[in-house]
């Protein structure tokens, strides 16, 4: 077997040196539980055979690059420079462990320190952690953190929050016997959160751009939260938007959580993704997840270590701030490399191209009779209302080699929003792509 270096002779020799006759003599504590006969499973395959088997499965899927593609709703297709994927496959990044031995992990640690700084600056916050699993689990953790900070156990979630995020937070809250209120889907961004804020709440969770693409002004909400001692948790599912839109931190958010997939990471059918988590310095000891900090070695040279681990499960056990252990290190590396290439200038330009493409698409959609744009403001994604079922339109379009968007009913089934469609447009979309979508929508409206 190509991955197993011990030869049969070496196995025999090692057993002999230990005074054992048979490999199963090593399993004596489990003797009566050992499988008597090998499991009826396929035998080993060569590299070529595995490539064929998995290649056949991959070939059954329609990939985003193969067709005009307009899906978003928390997962976005962007162009990632070739150097990013090359660098993250370097052995020293790919095959290293969590940097618990800092003297031989400075590469990973310095990357994390740079990553934390990038995330803090992007979100307009003072500190950021070394990443979480993804945006949805980061949101659930933010709610728990707000409970710890405020010592209150009620959370209010906006109807504009991605339904998967809301459900993820609800699952964790229900299990911990906390109270959580999720407002109904709000495709027109009309809900009034401010009047619902009172001093029993630990936090209000609001997303901008929201799941329908509306940009929400967080400032009035931040002021109302502050007056009642409530933490404002701002969620961003398209992190690229912060190249163009005012940061949640500058708008008064106390905790910012985000999905970082858009920068440096591919679609991957939903995972692995990258949870970003940033907050104010005063709350850092209530923060979940790993943190990298600067220090010096015994010769006085700057270096980096994992720090404040007294918050974490391997030290605090049942008193830990979170049970999280593994995070998304390699995805954070990809994010950090891509963002280092972009810099502020490139990020702004890329965000602008995204917005321009979406504005152009929205403008053309607005000329189609029977199709209605629901957004006044948006970044690179918006919500439209079709004359009929959006899910059926998407299915039909896919048979014509067009991936047209995400039906709202996929995220919020049974909410009576069957005709709504989320459409995202990024730098990957060409004028031809747009023409294909517009033609399909015109045809749909004329049906």
């Amino acid at each position: 077997m190509r991955y197993l270096p011990l030869s049969p002779t070496e196995r025999e020799d090692m057993l002999t040196r230990m005074g054992l006759a048979d490999i199963d003599d090593l399993f004596t504590d489990a003797a009566d539980k050992l499988l008597k006969t090998p499991l009826d499973l396929p035998r080993r395959k060569t590299e070529l055979e595995v490539e064929r088997a998995l290649g056949a499965l991959a070939a059954k899927n329609i990939s985003a690059s193969a067709v005009p593609f307009f899906l978003g709703a928390g997962a976005y297709k962007h162009h990632v420079p070739a150097s990013v994927d090359h660098l993250i496959q370097r052995s020293e990044f790919l095959t290293s462990y969590t940097p618990y031995q800092p003297e031989i992990s400075q590469g990973t640690l310095q990357v994390l320190f740079e990553f934390q700084t990038q995330v803090a600056r992007l979100t307009g916050m003072e500190v950021a952690n070394a990443s979480m699993y993804d945006g949805s689990t980061a949101t659930a953790e933010a709610v728990l953190m707000a409970h710890r900070v405020t010592r209150r156990r009620k959370a209010l979630l906006s109807g504009g929050l991605h339904p998967h995020y809301a459900e993820t937070a609800r699952t964790l809250s229900d299990m911990a016997d906390d109270e959580i209120t999720i407002l109904p889907p709000d495709p027109l961004a009309q809900e009034d959160l401010v009047s619902r804020i009172d001093d029993s709440l630990a936090c209000v969770v609001v997303q901008s751009p929201d799941v329908s693409g509306h940009l929400r002004d967080l400032r009035p909400l931040a002021a109302a939260c502050k007056a009642k001692g409530v933490l404002l948790v701002a969620v961003v599912t398209e992190i690229l938007s912060l190249g163009l839109i005012e940061s949640p931190g500058a708008q008064g958010a106390d905790i910012v959580v985000a999905e970082g997939q858009s920068i440096g990471n591919g679609l991957n059918f939903g995972g692995p993704y990258l949870g970003l988590f940033a907050t104010r310095e005063k709350y850092v000891r209530q923060m979940p997840g790993r943190l990298c900090g600067q220090t010096f070695d015994s010769q006085g040279r700057r270096g980096f270590v994992l720090t404040l681990s007294t918050r974490e499960q391997h030290i605090r056990r049942e008193k830990a701030t979170s049970n999280i252990c593994t995070n998304s290190g390699l995805c954070a590396l990809a994010f950090s490399i891509h963002l280092s290439l972009l810099g502020a200038k490139g990020l702004r330009e890329l965000a602008l191209v995204n917005h321009a493409n979406a504005v152009a698409l929205a403008g053309e959609i607005e000329t189609i009779p029977g199709v209605k744009l629901l957004n006044e403001s948006f970044f690179n994604e918006f919500c439209i209302e079709l004359p009929g079922s959006a899910a059926e339109f998407v299915e039909r379009a896919a048979t014509q080699k067009l991936l047209a968007g995400v039906p709202v009913s996929r995220l919020s089934p049974g909410a009576g929003l069957e005709n709504l469609l989320l459409v995202a447009s990024s730098e990957i979309n060409t004028d031809d792509d747009r023409a294909v979508l517009i033609a399909a929508l015109r045809e749909e409206a004329a049906r």
Binding site: M1, Y3, P5, L6, E10, I23, F27, T28, P38, D40, R43, R44, E51, L54, L57, A58, S63, F69, P81, I88, S91, E92, F93, L94, T95, E103, E114, T117, A120, G124, D134, S136, L172, D217, E246, S247, G249, N268, F269, G271, G293, T295, D297, T307, R316, A320, I324, C325, G329, C331, L341, G343, A344, G346, L352, V353, H355, A356, V359, S377
Partner: protein
């Protein structure tokens, strides 16, 4: 130091002007050499258009430096050279299973049909992806002897959370949520176990370990009662031992109306040899990034699918797969099911599923069992070859895939376990897991995995023996000052925690270079 040890009597080396040392380069932060008005990505500006941002344009500065592609490559390549990695040497971290990461897996995960599909595409455009998830599920179910698998958990601790949520849902369905509020866990448990239980509102009752490092049925029986929801047990346990009485423990737990959660972090010892389901396990997470070779990536991403017994399967989280004729369907809405709900957006760590299945298909049933055998063989070989120079609480006992030593043999030497670990760095070996499990004083937990050749095992053993003799010979300085040969000498972790510096701030009175 003694004269026989030339390293410490060497002449002081000249100081370099640049701070670099040959191939070992010092690397500044991107914030120190990047420029905000520069970008390494060519982007064509859009034609004139009217923004529709609702007056929320960003006014606060971004403060993000940009680098050209050559600068980027140099920065990250130099950083990478300051990292240890499994591709560079032995990584004997007990409980972490740092095995070889096959490159075929990386190639497969990057096929556009897997890497470039959106989680919310119409299901008939992703049938191959769903089929892959179904294939992986079948393997995991078969290898564990269980009934179902929840694929969505994103790492081991998330899998624990999933398993314990499933148990809580099952208990609620029985109307016993208010009474069963206690979870049993042995002293030797991973920290995530009590952290998970506590996060779900359970209190933790600790079970003492026996002198032999095993959990005894009597201790479990004494802790069980009508208030107990579950036991969380690692098997093989964190001392590297197979829980001999696990079947009896499972029987007792079930008899008391509780569930058996198994922490699957150590599954690598028994794949294809013993099936957890046959032992009475109700739920167990599987770390794909340990047992099934998906790369650790310097701390994730992982993946933590949870296998479930028939008693728990109905309560599994959404989404889950269902077969509908010759098509695969994803059930994403819990309405009309007994599912406890959703744990994360979308459907799990697809990129890791591809890698894990690539590993599994490469090994086949026969290769998987052989991998476990070799892992256990190598750990025992290390145990036997070191037991005369290092002490172990269970030296004479067969271990599974990891060998546990303690610091008894170092007593009064002036060398601590941490010093010993740092001296291993100088010898070119990543230290083993130290000070875990907590039940053993000065624990050193060595897990070689099946990926090491006989030559590397011999080198490892010889090096540890040399170091052990060095401790016994009183060469204290070799250890207390270590590491001498790493990119950094011992780092001050206390200072880092006392006054945390978590982001880069430009030194007072200085501008960041070329900051816009």
């Amino acid at each position: 130091m003694t004269e026989e040890n030339p390293r410490f009597s060497e002449k002081k080396l000249p100081r370099t002007f640049s701070g670099h040392h040959g191939l070992a380069h010092e690397t500044g932060l991107i914030f120190e050499h990047g420029r905000e008005d520069f970008t390494g990505v060519d982007i064509d500006p859009p034609k004139e258009f009217t923004p529709r941002l609702g007056g929320l344009e960003r006014k606060s500065p971004l403060g993000l430096p940009g680098l050209s592609e050559p600068e980027t490559l140099r920065h990250y390549v130099r950083l990478s050279q300051q990292n240890y990695a499994i591709d560079a040497g032995l990584y004997p971290l007990g409980s972490c299973t740092m095995k070889h990461n096959p490159r075929l897996n990386e190639k497969m995960a990057r096929l556009p049909g897997f890497a470039d599909i959106h989680p919310l595409q119409p299901l008939y455009t992703v049938q191959g992806a769903l089929e892959l998830m179904a294939d992986l599920s079948r393997w995991l179910i078969e290898l564990t002897g269980t009934e179902a698998v929840a694929l969505s958990p994103k790492a081991g601790a998330h899998g624990e959370m999933c398993g314990m949520m499933t148990i809580k849902a099952a208990i609620s369905a029985r109307g016993e949520a208010a009474t069963r509020k206690v979870v049993l866990a042995p002293e030797s448990a991973h920290g995530t176990n009590p952290a998970t239980a506590a996060a779900l509102g359970f209190s933790v009752r600790v079970i003492p370990a026996g002198e032999d490092g095993l959990v005894h049925p009597e201790a479990v029986a004494a802790a069980l009662g009508p208030d107990v929801a579950a036991i969380m047990l690692t098997n093989p346990n964190t001392c590297g031992l197979f829980e001999r009485d696990i079947v009896e423990i499972a029987r007792l737990v079930h008899e008391a109306g509780a569930y058996f959660y198994c922490d699957g972090a150590n599954f690598n010892a028994i794949v294809g040899k013993v099936r957890p389901g046959d032992l009475g396990v109700d739920a167990m997470h599987i770390n794909l990034h340990k047992t099934f070779s998906t790369p650790h990536g310097g701390g994730g991403p992982g993946a933590g699918p949870v296998v479930l017994s028939s008693r728990l399967a109905p309560f599994a989280p959404v989404p889950f797969l269902r077969r509908d004729g010759d098509k695969f369907v994803l059930v994403e809405d819990k309405e009309g099911t007994q599912s406890f709900g959703r744990m994360a957006a979308f459907h799990g760590q697809m990129g890791m599923f591809v890698r894990a299945l690539s590993y599994i298909l490469s090994h086949g049933g026969d290769g998987l069992a052989m991998a476990s055998e070799n892992a256990v063989l190598s750990a025992n070989y290390i145990r036997v070859c070191l037991k005369d120079v290092m002490s172990s609480p269970f030296a004479e006992r067969l271990c599974m895939h990891e060998a546990l030593f303690d610091d008894h043999w170092m007593k009064d030497s002036g060398v601590t376990v941490l010093d010993f670990a740092k001296a291993m760095i100088d010898e070119g070996i990543h230290p083993m897991t130290v000070y875990f499990p907590l039940v053993v004083h000065g624990a050193m937990l060595i897990e070689p995995t099946e990926s090491e050749s006989a030559a590397f095992l011999e080198m490892f053993i010889a090096t540890l023996r040399d170091l052990a003799f060095s401790v016994k010979n009183g060469e204290v300085e070799r250890f207390t000052g270590a590491p001498y040969y790493a990119p950094r000498t011992r780092l001050d972790e206390t200072a880092a925690a006392r006054k945390p510096v978590l982001t880069y701030k430009k030194p007072v009175g200085e501008r960041e270079p070329n900051a816009g």
